[in-house]
Amino acid sequence: MSLRRTMLFIPGNNPGMLQNGGVFGADSVILDLEDAVAPQEKDAARFLVAQALKTVDYGTSEKVVRINPLDTFGAKDIQMIVPCQPDVLLVPKVESAQDIEGVTRLVAQAEMEGQKPVQLIALLETAKGIALAYQIAQTKGRLVALALGAEDYTAGLGAARTKEGQEIFTARSLVINAAAAAGIQSLDTPFTDANDEDGLYQDALTGKELGFKGKLAINPRQIDVIHGVLNPTAATIEWAEAVVQAIRKAEAEGSGVASLHGKMVDAPIVARAEHILQLARKLGVEVMQ
């Protein structure tokens, strides 16, 4: 599973930012054709993003494009963007499994022969999308993560968006739970005040503690802070290594369950430990293979 601690939005109509998007060290860049781009600029942005995908070196960052919803410009976006080989499409305002299935069909049609299959992430940002989170998460094939978009969601609820985020507690939990149940990633809503570093830290920490595996970012300045929250500590890495060692030992002995310091180690705990080790490797920490 790809690391997506940070997914950085880059406006699809800003050539300078498109060119520099790869320098900030985000795990993913999201070249945005939707909210960042005014309707009269959609065509120009689509051309720019297509060119960026073909020519700009985004280094180790995964290339994600946020397309428009299918009922606006989404089909056009898919047709032009998919052959340019993005890694992932971020699909906005997903409200049902059918929405993802519709995108899946168009993507399959647009893909070139031999192209690495384009994955999908569903952005849930309406009450209906949240209510059907598990159904959406179960869409087979290309879906690799659910992401929460809290601004539109709270506006739809008629709830005020606060820094503390009490109003999105339920939505966060539902997204995390639905994704976990379906075996895919969950990604947290962006923190929208780019100048409030402490607020971002608290918000990212809340998301991590609830179970999110990554967070959307609206400004490059947010990346280091989010990584700081999501990166494993030395103690967690040691724990993860011990878990993996214990389960390997148990497997060698013909058992699927192990114990570590008197606590049971089963599949979900092993999965968490492996995720931590993957993170550590990405950070250049030498850990067991």
Binding site: M17, Q19, N20, V23, F24, N219, P220, R221, D224, G284
Partner: protein, 513 residues
């Protein structure tokens, strides 16, 4: 002939004279005495206050061919240069040399004086705006001499820039010629760049719009060398002199570069108690200070001093205990003025103290780190801060070459691509600061270390910084933007770029139209 960095320098340049080719940053050792300035006297009861500039011109008297000097602490709010030269023009004086430590857009009137022969020679450390453009296009027959801030102080002291009359724009003065920069409507902070002029000029004229009762306090430039005090209606426009606050850049690429520069400082092992630091007032430079400060706060490090042009941000670092002292040759904003006036740990120093290579030790020698900019850098790490991508003069060394020479580690920060131009070239158009004094080049896409600093290279690699060969960074930039066409220059030399020791590091040739 070629100087030691391969620049073609004529042995004699018309309008400049015989050249000394640059031969290395610390090669020239002076064997001479300082110029002895004129001995002055002032009988009791005589007045120094003169009503008009015209009257000063007549009393001195100022005649054709003299050298008039000015400082640039009023920056783009300066009113003194223009008033003095208008007076010269009105009196029909010709053939003056203007030694103005930096030229700003407000000095546009110089162009007319150059065209009509009032001013035929210019000596400066930095120039931007219309005058720079006019000079680059050949408005003067004689080449402009471009010096460093330290080099100007040296040239004055060594008699290589003799000054007939120094006009010192003074925010506050008393009737007997004591001056400071911190009071009055045109307050500018430190008067550091004017100190050598006051000390060595044959005649010193204070120009002010704010005269207080004798004696003025505090005193920056004392009465002993000041011959005349002229009150004008307005010496400068505060809006052009100081900015309200200097702000850290919000540009994400600039911030990325700044964060990386701060990591370089830490990886080099310099971020510890007693740390000394200089950075510019520009957005990215100031952002480096911001990231350095964050680390100082986390690690509870107390630095020794910050140096150079002082901004409110550095004042805050002094007041919050991140540095014990500020050494201030020039203040940029209102906070810097407030602080230098009230805080005994905020020191006002001269250009000589700051950066002259020929004294018994200048402040830049005590720097651990300086962070500097560049308009171009080449694969030998030579830096250009004089000419832009169009070959036109748009800056100058100022303290660039001085601080680079003095600091233990000199870091140049710049975007790898400026607009759509790669910043790394095979050979900079105009060499300002020699590569031997540049240690690290930091861009958003990686860090290059001068091969002459293998130990530093190891430290940065060990710290996990994205270290690349400068050729590799150049190739990255060219892959994105292509290789720009070379500018074509003519043979005509419009400026001579002096290194801080007075040798010629490069010349600026007029760009073909």
């Amino acid at each position: 002939m070629k100087n030691s960095i391969g620049r073609e320098i004529p042995e004699v340049i018309e309008g400049y004279g015989k050249t000394i080719p640059f031969a290395g940053a610390f090669t020239i050792q002076p064997a001479m005495n300082r110029q002895a300035p004129k001995v002055k006297s002032m009988h009791p009861g005589r007045q120094k206050v003169v009503d008009t500039l015209e009257s000063v011109f007549q009393q001195i008297p100022i005649t054709d061919g003299m050298t008039l000097s000015f400082h640039h602490h009023f920056r783009n709010g300066d009113g003194v240069v223009n008033q003095v030269l208008a007076t010269a023009a009105a009196l029909g004086i010709k053939n003056l040399k203007v030694a103005l430590s930096s030229v700003f857009p407000v000095h546009e009137t110089l162009i007319a004086h150059m065209k009509n022969g009032v001013v035929t020679s210019l000596d400066t450390n930095y120039m931007s705006g219309p005058v720079a453009k006019a000079v680059a296009n050949g408005v003067l027959a004689a080449p402009v001499v471009l010096r460093t801030h330290g080099g100007r102080a040296r040239a004055i002291e060594c008699g290589q820039l003799p000054i007939d009359v120094a006009f010192i724009a003074a925010p506050a003065a008393d009737e007997y010629g004591n001056l400071n920069g911190v009071q009055g409507p045109a307050a500018c902070g430190s008067l550091g760049y004017a100190f050598p002029d006051a000390e060595y000029a044959d005649h010193v004229v204070a120009v002010t719009d704010y005269i207080v009762e004798y004696p003025l306090a505090p005193i920056s430039i004392p009465q002993c060398r000041v011959d005349y005090v002229v009150k004008v209606d307005c010496a400068g426009d505060p809006k052009g002199i100081v900015s309200g606050t200097t702000k850290i850049t919000k540009d994400p690429v600039g911030l990325k570069i700044a964060a990386m520069a701060a990591k370089v400082i830490e990886a080099a092992g310099l971020l510890k108690n007693g740390f000394s630091f200089q950075t510019g007032a520009g957005g990215v430079s100031l952002a480096v200070a911001h990231f350095v400060r964050q680390r100082m706060e986390q690690e509870q490090i107390v630095g020794s001093f910050a140096l150079g042009g002082i901004t409110g941000y550095m004042v805050e670092m002094l007041e919050k205990g991140f540095f014990k002292k500020l050494i201030d040759v020039q203040g940029f904003d209102l906070e810097a003025i407030r602080s230098i006036q009230t805080n005994p740990n905020h020191l006002e120093v001269s250009a000589n103290f700051y950066a002259s290579p020929f004294n018994a030790g200048c402040a830049v020698n005590k720097l651990d780190v300086v962070v500097l900019g560049a308009t171009e850098i080449d694969v030998d790490f030579h830096v250009n801060v004089v000419t832009g991508s169009d070959g036109v003069i748009m800056g100058g060394s100022g303290g660039h070459a001085d601080a680079a020479a003095g600091a233990k580690v000199t870091i140049v920060v710049a975007n790898l691509l400026r607009g759509r131009l790669p910043i790394i070239v095979d050979q900079v158009l105009t060499a300002t600061t020699p590569g031997e004094t540049i240690d690290v080049f930091v861009t958003e896409r990686g860090v290059a270390v001068n091969p002459q600093r293998p130990e530093l290279l190891q430290q940065l690699v060990a710290a996990g910084l994205p270290v690349k060969e400068i050729q590799e960074l150049k190739a990255m930039a060219e892959k994105i933007a292509g290789v720009p066409q070379k500018l074509k220059t003519s043979d005509r030399i419009v400026a001579v770029v002096e290194y801080r020791d007075g040798s010629v590091i490069d010349v600026v040739r007029q760009v073909n139209q």
